[in-house]
């Protein structure tokens, strides 16, 4: 054995005079790293109570508890409470949290002899020391939506061909996987469709089950799939960081794959003897007719125009909503035994009172047919058209050629969008004047984007004040820019016109799309005072029955939301209402 092998260990003694590297804990403390995964903290206002942290946690350490927190639209009052007798500090709940409100702080100290104190309520008002936080690019929820291939703007402007291409099978399945299953969208949707259920069915590939779930709440699912205002997507947690789950397109995909609904939805009906009349074959009337028919009542629908469909057929242009979709849905509804009498306007020949006598209940859903006017000087006269009548002419096939003409459309809703894009397709170069900011526009964001692509110039925050006419023809329009006044809380800002800065624009035709209201003239003649009307809309109770017994109102003419899905919802609710009314009559 070499001598230095024996003496070498003594070299260790040089540490006797060096400073030990011990962390003398109570005095010197080592602060954990920025990313340390410690005890949870959750910002109570940012959290929407979707419960996906509870779902991903494999130790079931997180339970969602009711807390007294003000429930904003699209959120619940559930907040997570963490049981540190189960938690393994993995941070998966932080990575899946759509809003990024939950994170693991850098604090880890919790000592106690009683195990109940280990259930810690992480909810706080403001952010304390951050630790393991949500990084958007590492979120467990895929941010992008399944890509739907688009038709290039030049090609689609030329004709009224269909803009909406729809999903293919693999992309739809992959997109349906993004759904967290939290159910916030169901509360936001007017018809409360069971969206997570049918997305799950699509994921598993059986579209029949998906369509069956849809038709429980919405008989016009394919139409809604194509043109809905999709409140569900506005509230979907996935959309907080990335794009929301494409619920509308998924619905369209599922219904498109089913040729004939008759085969998969059983419409066996237990006949009842009462007969019910429906005025107006719009979305509200049709859905009311469908659900009441399923309950067994005999239904007669009276429609003013030649073809049933209401605003869907005559308001929405064919490039947005193909006609065959409407026929397919209506064919299915009539297949259940609903009789639709077109071309008969109630109030002219037949009166409402006759209907009330003949039928045990009457449901009126004639929608908003009376357009509002701007009321500015020079407005009346030739070439100032109303949007819905303009669209009615186009949709009923009347040839209108606007080539080389300049068209100014006033308004910001979906009807305005249809007006500008239809006139664009008819060859005009189109301007849009809207008095508030672009973000306040009620129109769908995708519609605005496509409109801009098609070369329509948006004149935001402008208010026309006068129309200049020469020999009856419109020559130009005077307008002023507006400023926003945010004084009233909770409502959209009020536009304040700047009168000193007046500008003019040479224009040939003006189309007004500033909103429509219900046309109650016949009803007032017949019922007068007994029909209570408030702010232009009849007052209805929970069952949508107005002050006159047996008379029900629904659709755009009775609710504030003014879109297809709320009309369908009113139809379904009215069907329940009539059913209850007739049961305990």
């Amino acid at each position: 054995m070499a001598w230095n092998d024996i003496l070498k260990p003594l070299s260790g003694w040089k540490f006797l005079f060096k400073k030990p590297h011990t962390i003398r804990y109570p005095k010197e403390d080592k602060i954990p790293s920025e990313r340390y995964r410690g005890i949870h903290t959750n910002m109570i206002d940012k959290c929407i109570g979707c419960g996906s942290c509870e779902k991903i946690c494999m130790n079931q350490a997180i339970t969602m508890k009711e807390m007294d927190v003000e429930v904003k639209e699209g959120t619940t009052n559930l907040r997570p409470v963490v049981d540190h007798g189960r938690c393994c500090y993995c941070g998966l709940c932080v990575d899946i949290c759509p809003t990024g409100s939950l994170w693991l702080s850098r604090d880890y100290r919790h000592l106690s002899e009683d195990i109940d104190t280990f259930i810690i309520d992480p909810n706080v008002k403001e952010k304390e020391r951050e630790g393991w936080q949500k990084a958007p690019e590492f979120s467990l929820i895929p941010p992008e939506r399944g890509k739907m291939e688009e038709i290039p703007p030049e090609k689609r402007v030329k004709s009224f061909m269909e803009v909406f291409v729809g999903y293919t099978e693999p992309i739809a399945k992959e997109e349906a996987q993004r759904c967290l299953g939290c159910g916030l969208c169901v509360d936001a949707c007017a018809t409360h469709m069971h969206i997570p259920d049918y997305l799950k069915a699509i994921r598993e590939g059986n579209n029949e089950e998906a369509v069956r779930i849809m038709f429980k709440n919405n008989p016009l699912s394919e139409i809604c799939g194509t043109v809905c205002t999709h409140f569900c997507e506005n509230v979907c947690p996935v959309g907080i960081i990335g794009e929301p789950v494409a619920i509308q397109w998924e619905k369209e995909f599922a219904t498109r794959t089913i040729e004939d609904y008759k085969k998969i939805i059983d419409t066996t009906i237990k006949e009842k003897k009462e007969r019910v009349a429906v005025v107006g074959a719009g979305p509200a009337g049709l859905s009311f007719a469908f659900y009441l028919r399923l309950k067994g009542y005999k239904i007669d629908v009276f429609e003013k125009y030649e073809k049933p469909g209401g605003m869907m057929l005559l308001g929405i242009p064919s490039y947005r909503l193909p006609r065959k979709v409407i026929e397919k849905e209506i064919k299915f509804i009539t297949s259940t035994g609903v009789k639709i009498h077109t071309g008969t306007q109630i109030g002219k020949k037949k009166t409402f009172k006759e209907l009330l006598k003949k039928y045990s209940a009457v449901f009126v859903a004639t929608g908003n047919t009376k357009p509002y006017t701007m009321g500015i000087p020079g407005e009346e006269g030739k070439d100032t058209l109303q949007a819905i009548s303009f669209l009615y002419d186009v949709n009923t096939g009347k040839k209108i050629d606007l080539k080389g003409k300049k068209v100014l459309v006033v308004g910001g809703g979906n009807v305005a969008m249809d007006a500008i894009r239809t006139s664009r397709r008819l060859g005009a170069d189109v301007y849009l004047s809207y008095r508030r900011r672009e973000v306040d526009m009620p129109a769908d964001e995708l519609e605005r984007k496509e409109a801009k692509e098609e070369g329509i110039e948006f004149m935001i925050q402008t208010l026309p004040i006068e129309v200049i006419r020469e020999k009856g023809k419109i020559k130009a329009v005077k307008y002023v820019p507006t400023d926003m006044d945010f004084s009233e809380k909770g409502k959209r800002p009020k536009p304040v016109p700047r009168m000193n800065d007046v500008r003019t624009l040479e224009v040939d035709i003006i189309i007004e799309a500033i909103g429509q209201g219900p046309d109650l003239t016949y009803l007032e003649q017949e019922f007068g005072e007994s029909l209570k009307i408030e702010k232009g809309k009849p007052v209805v109770d929970k069952n949508l029955m107005c002050s006159i017994k047996g008379l029900f109102f629904g659709g755009d003419m009775a609710n504030k939301q003014n879109d297809i899905v709320s009309a369908v919802a009113d139809g379904r609710r009215a069907a329940e209402g009539v059913h209850n009314y007739l049961q305990n009559k």
Binding site: T22, G85, R86, I115
Partner: protein, 170 residues
């Protein structure tokens, strides 16, 4: 008696028994980086010489039998410290057939430390807290074991045959 408690607090001998996965955080605490010997805590080899029994994390039922017998061999006053989530409410193995869920039912635990494997600082926190508690005579876990002995035995009997269990080998 309180003066003796001071001495008991200042010299806690820990049983060198890594029952669960939390024991991997004991070496840094025992050795040069955090050095628990500054508080007079050294690992002892046998239950006879030890004062604290550290249940470091989950406890398989097979280990629970040994731990109970080891605990009963320790000389009182003795204390039990539960490490991590698994001793409080089952931790990650809440649905495993082989581990116990609440240590409280089988042993009188004086202190639980939060963490899915508590950090060395958290362990030092526990030792300091234990030290203060013992000096002031607050932690009396071992008395609790003697007082409701049959309650503990009933819980243990639910899992294994308390009287006659033994190792099966060739």
């Amino acid at each position: 008696m309180s003066i003796l408690n001071k001495f008991r607090g200042k010299s806690l001998w820990m049983l060198h028994y890594c029952t669960g996965c939390g024991a991997i955080e004991m070496p840094p605490v025992m050795t040069s980086r955090y050095d628990m010997e500054r508080f007079g805590i050294i690992p002892m080899a046998t239950p006879r010489q030890a004062d604290i029994l550290l249940i470091t994390g989950y406890l398989a039922v097979k280990t629970l039998k040994r731990v109970i017998r080891t605990y009963e061999q320790m000389h009182s006053p003795k204390w039990v410290v539960g490490f991590g989530a698994c001793t409080v409410n089952g931790g990650m193995y809440w649905d495993s057939y082989a581990t116990i869920k609440k240590l409280e039912l089988y042993l009188p635990v004086d202190l639980y430390i939060a963490g899915c494997m508590p950090r060395p600082e958290a362990i030092m926190d526990a030792f300091i807290e234990l030290r203060k508690g013992i000096s002031s005579g607050k932690y009396e876990g071992w008395k609790k074991y003697i007082e409701n002995y049959d309650w503990y035995k009933k819980n243990q009997a639910k899992l294994f045959d308390v009287k006659k269990w033994s190792v099966n080998y060739e």
